[in-house]
């Protein structure tokens, strides 16, 4: 029986067009991520890592190609349809944490649940949020504002927020980029634990040490998968 891919990208291209020039960020990327995978994507600056992650997270639209999440073609959905999928199937962890300063830790984590339709009850939200904060050992900081926390703590809150919606896949963008090595290691250990517990992970990183922690290591070069042959063989 063929294993169903959680994520499937077929010949994805992304071209940025300005008045002066066209920049080909991705030149026909093919990619499959399966349930329980821990995939790292690395490559030199400008190879298209961030563009690929933005497309994976439906934060941006491809110029051409087909993109399927759990078998559903999401390449040409409307803004709101893409928002729904981001909310229900994707969890994000950003390099810059991207927490909202005006909201408390609890409210930051609760955000994805507040976008749910039909609306979740306050009690259900509270249970889910506290559960996730427990997982990242931050349940004692629910009333704090992000700027009252250290970088490592903020990233743990961001992980809790990414997990709270029970996503199909967690997309992680340079999770240690803004952290010192001690906090970086702690965050990476937490991600490894999550993967062991069954969470599918796709991470963009510069750091070969952290890239090696993934089961599958993909390399991008000039907008193409460098290990494409191996991938094709696998397919």
């Amino acid at each position: 029986m063929t294993k169903q891919a959680k994520i499937q990208m077929l010949d994805i291209k992304k071209v940025f067009v300005t008045e002066e020039m066209e920049t080909h960020a991705l030149r026909g990327v093919n990619l499959e991520i399966f349930d329980g995978d821990y995939v790292s994507i690395s490559g030199p600056s400008g190879c298209g890592k961030s563009s690929l992650l933005s497309l994976l997270g439906l934060l941006d639209s491809p110029t051409s190609g087909q993109y399927l999440i759990e078998g559903q073609d999401v390449s040409s959905l409307s803004i709101n349809e893409r928002a729904l999928i981001r909310n229900q199937k994707i969890g994000f962890i950003f390099q810059a944490f991207n927490l909202i300063d005006e909201l408390s830790v609890f409210d930051n984590v609760a955000l994805p649940l507040r976008y749910r339709e039909p609306a979740m009850s306050a009690q259900a939200i509270k249970t889910k949020v506290m559960d996730c904060l427990e997982k990242v050992q931050m349940s004692h900081r629910t009333s704090h504002k992000p700027n009252q926390l250290s970088g490592g703590q903020q990233q743990r809150i961001a992980i809790a927020r990414a997990l709270v919606g029970d996503p199909a896949i967690l997309l992680v963008d340079e999770p240690t980029g803004n952290l010192d090595s001690k906090n970086g290691d702690a965050v990476m250990a937490m991600l490894a634990e999550l993967n062991k517990a069954g969470t599918t992970l796709c991470m963009v990183t510069h750091d070969p040490r952290y890239a090696d922690m993934a089961q599958r290591r993909l390399h991008l070069l000039d907008g193409c998968m460098a290990d494409e042959l191996t991938f094709k063989e696998a397919v």
Binding site: S54, G57, L59, D60, S61, I79, N80, A83, L84, I85, R86, N87, Q88, I90, F92, F94, A96, N98, L99, I100, E102, L111, P112, Y115, E117, R161, G165
Partner: protein, 804 residues
């Protein structure tokens, strides 16, 4: 090198602005309209307050008036021709003196027989004002007082309008009224005659001796008489005033026409004082108003520039981190603001050109020197200076967005810099103020506009289709009452014989351009009932106008020797005279020996030319030939030309002239011009208020949204739908909008309560104004709230997150 660098910056700024057409349009529209108003009013103020009159030695030219002292009280405004001529012959204080009398006359030798504004002047008038001539010459010294010469000089406008600018007009003889005048010249277009007697333009100058009032005595005081004179060297204004005063009173006291207890003095005003009067106060108030408008516009546009700078903050921070000095960043920002402000200035100058035309129409009769309005070096320089100053202000404020002491923070943040930030409270206060101010303006505009529109569309109450008013100048030859009756009957019969005429009534007043004639009505015991508008008409007048009778009938036609014993009243007057409704048969008196009985009540009609009691307390009595006219009903669609009427008149008497031949519908439109102009101007102001408020709110909220763009990106990245983001931002943005609306409503109500007594005479406020104004303001404000959010939500979240 510096210039080259700035030129490069201008090119870059142009390319950059091409990408933000909405921002460019909003800034240029807001500033362009405001600058247009400011430039127009600056030009007016410069003209009235600063610019010298375009005449040599203008500061030494005096306007000579009389002061009449009656029992210790001074009265001004009227002069005697005898006094003026007395000065002209005997004065020693002035180097030169000119006499001027205004009058209206018919240009009889022209096919259309227009009624034109004439000035009878002595030759010194042209010499004192150094009148430039387009053709021919001005009056020579031998065409002055007592010369018996009848010569004319045409104004440039009259030459163009009535003589098609023909150069052979000089030397032609014109028939003006009953006299002939030889044209000796045409004044140049650049000659702006000073408005001495009123604000009317001058069409033709005629030699003094043709003046019909020249022999009037010391007892005849007229406002249409003036004199101007140039002070002799070494003679002060006070000295001349004293000498001329003594001379004037001596002449007056020696005359047979003097009144006991009255003395005359001279009143000398410089030509500028006389021409400008106290209109400089109006001009200054207009300037204050437009400067306030500019301040509001500048506050709004500043928000837009800050919002734009916030968008560019990261770019600016990168430039700064690469070593760009504050001055260099300022130059780049200045290039953008300079392009926008200069474009706005050009638009403003174009609008000012239109503003001059509007001001000439609206201000005619109220403000002097309007014919001189126009773009000149001073106005252009002022416009450029204002444009550059605004560009400097906007660039300086935009530059403060970059904090050179904390570049790292700004490079890492994505939109929320640590440079200049306007607090949320301040932003909300700005929105509240904008909405409140605009709401009050909208309510006021809606009230004024509603009044104007009501007047424009108000039915007249009679059928004005194919109705024509004719007035005939019969001269002074028909002095006997029988002759006058006979002539008016003959004219009426002749008019009725014209194939296109259905019916005719003789009238004293036209229905909607009626005179101000009121005659007191007394009851049977000669107790005064009131003074009401009266019209003397034929018995068929009501049929001609199709003015329906409510009760009774028209009066019985009179023979020449009969005196009126019946009359007809309007519905309103009937209600006032007999509140019980039994008006028919009631007897009143004008004259103790001539009782008159009410025999009919006709509908009221609306006269837009008489807003005091436009619906009219009127009464109608049988026609009596004073200086009358005819109300003519034409066949459907027929027309009546001046030539046809003139031919008919002259077949009866070659001396008869047409004073007026107007379609009632045209007169109606003409009378509604003020209302149409008011409605148009109010609509323009309303749109301007909406635009300014909209731009202001948009600027503030665009800035707020820009500050929150990154946060909104996060919401979207986490799966918030566009509707959620929209609702979230709009809910917050609309709070100050609603507070502003409530404040505006409160201010409007309080303002009305405070000024109720004064306002009720002018306008009748009602709920419609509020029903229109507030939803309109809410829609405009909602749009201004929505547009900045829309910019964020229509793009992929990655753009907000990267602050692209």
């Amino acid at each position: 090198m510096l210039l080259f660098s700035f030129t490069q910056e201008l090119k870059l700024a142009f390319l950059s602005l091409k990408r933000v057409p909405g921002f460019v349009l909003t800034v240029i529209a807001t500033l362009g309209i405001t600058l247009g108003a400011l430039i127009t009013i600056f030009n007016l103020n410069h003209l009235l307050l600063v610019k010298a009159l375009p005449f040599p030695d203008a500061e030494k030219i005096m306007v000579l008036d009389h002061i009449i002292n009656v029992d210790g009280q001074d009265q001004t405004g009227s002069q005697t021709i005898a006094g003026m001529q007395h000065w002209y012959q005997h004065q020693n204080s002035l180097k030169s003196m000119a006499l001027v009398v205004r009058n209206w006359e018919i240009l009889a030798s022209h096919q259309q027989q227009p009624r034109l504004s004439m000035r009878y002047v002595t030759p010194e008038y042209f010499q004192l004002l150094d009148t430039p001539m387009a053709l021919g010459r001005a009056f020579s010294n031998d065409e002055g007082k007592d010369s018996g010469k009848q010569v004319a000089v045409l104004s440039h406008q009259a030459w163009q309008q009535w003589f098609n600018g023909r150069t052979d007009v000089v030397g032609q003889t014109l028939q003006i009224g009953d006299s002939s005048f030889k044209v000796v010249g045409v004044a140049a277009d650049s000659f702006h005659a000073p408005q001495l007697t009123d604000i009317d333009s001058e069409d033709i100058w005629l030699s003094w001796d043709a003046n019909p009032y020249k022999d009037s005595g010391w007892g005849m005081f007229m406002s249409s008489v003036k004199a101007i004179g140039l002070l002799k060297d070494g003679v002060s204004k006070a000295q001349a005033q004293s000498d001329l005063g003594v001379m004037l009173d001596t002449g007056y006291q020696a005359s047979e026409d003097r009144f006991e207890g009255e003395t005359l003095k001279a009143n000398l005003l410089s030509l500028k004082e006389s021409v400008i009067g106290d209109t400089n106060r109006i001009a200054l108030m207009l300037l204050a108003g437009t400067l306030t408008l500019l301040l509001i516009a500048v506050a709004n546009v500043t928000n837009l520039f800050l919002s734009r700078a916030a968008q560019k903050q990261r770019t600016l921070a990168i430039q700064a981190s690469l070593g760009a000095r504050p001055g260099q960043l300022f130059t780049a920002l200045f290039a953008e603001s300079f392009l926008l402000c200069m474009a706005s200035t050009v638009i403003g100058l174009l609008i000012a050109g239109w503003g001059f035309i509007l001001l000439r129409q609206v201000g005619e009769g109220e403000l002097p020197r309007l014919s001189e309005l126009g773009l000149d070096v001073n106005t252009l320089a002022f416009s450029c200076v204002v444009g550059v100053l605004l560009a400097l202000i906007f660039a300086r404020l935009s530059r403060t967005v970059v904090n050179f002491n904390d570049l790292k923070e700004q490079l890492q943040s994505s939109g929320k810099g640590s440079g200049l930030q306007i607090s949320k409270r301040t932003r909300n206060a700005l929105v509240v103020a904008q909405v409140a101010l605009a709401s009050v303006m909208l309510v006021a505009s809606a009230v004024v506009m509603e009044e104007a529109i009501k007047t424009i569309y108000k039915p007249l109450g009679f059928n004005s289709d194919d109705l024509v008013t004719l007035r005939v100048d019969v001269g002074n030859r028909y002095e006997e009452r029988k002759e006058q009756y006979a002539l008016s009957r003959e004219l009426k019969a002749a008019l009725l014989n014209m194939p296109q005429v259905d019916s005719v009534s003789r009238v004293i007043s036209a229905p909607i351009r009626e005179g101000r004639m009121r005659i007191t009505l007394n009851d049977e015991n000669m107790q005064r009932v009131g003074s009401f508008r009266i019209n003397l008409v034929d018995h068929n007048y009501f049929d001609v106008l199709q003015l329906p009778f409510i009760h009774g009938r028209s009066f019985t036609p009179l023979s020449d020797d009969d005196y009126a014993s019946e009359f007809v009243v309007s519905e309103s007057l009937a209600k006032q005279l007999a509140p019980d409704g039994n008006i028919l048969g009631k007897v009143f008196k004008n004259d103790p020996d001539e009782p008159i009985k009410v025999v009919g009540v006709v509908s009221d009609y609306f006269n837009p030319g008489d807003m005091e009691d436009g619906n009219g307390l009127r009464y109608y009595m049988p026609y009596f030939p004073i200086q009358g006219g005819f109300q003519i009903k034409l066949s459907t669609g027929a027309s009546l030309s001046k030539l046809e009427v003139l031919t008919l008149l002259q077949s009866i008497d070659p001396q008869l002239r047409i004073t007026e031949l107007t379609k009632v519908e045209d007169a109606h439109k003409e009378l509604l011009f003020t209302q149409v102009a008011t409605a148009g101007l109010t609509l323009a102001l309303t749109l301007l208020a909406l635009l300014l408020a909209g731009a202001g709110i948009y600027g503030v909220l665009s800035y707020s949204t820009q500050m929150r763009r990154y946060e909104l990106g996060i919401h979207m990245a986490l799966g918030a739908k566009t509707g959620f983001v929209k609702r979230m931002v709009m809910a917050e943005s609309l709070v100050p909008v609603f507070i502003g609306l409530a404040a505006g409503l409160a201010v409007a109500l309080i303002g009305y309560a405070l000024a109720r007594a004064e306002l009720e005479e002018l306008i009748q406020p009602n709920i419609t104004a509020l029903v229109i104004a507030f939803p309109l303001m809410l829609v405009a404000a909602s749009l201004a709230c929505y547009l900045p959010v829309r910019k964020v939500i229509v793009d992929d979240p990655v753009k907000a997150l990267r602050n692209e």
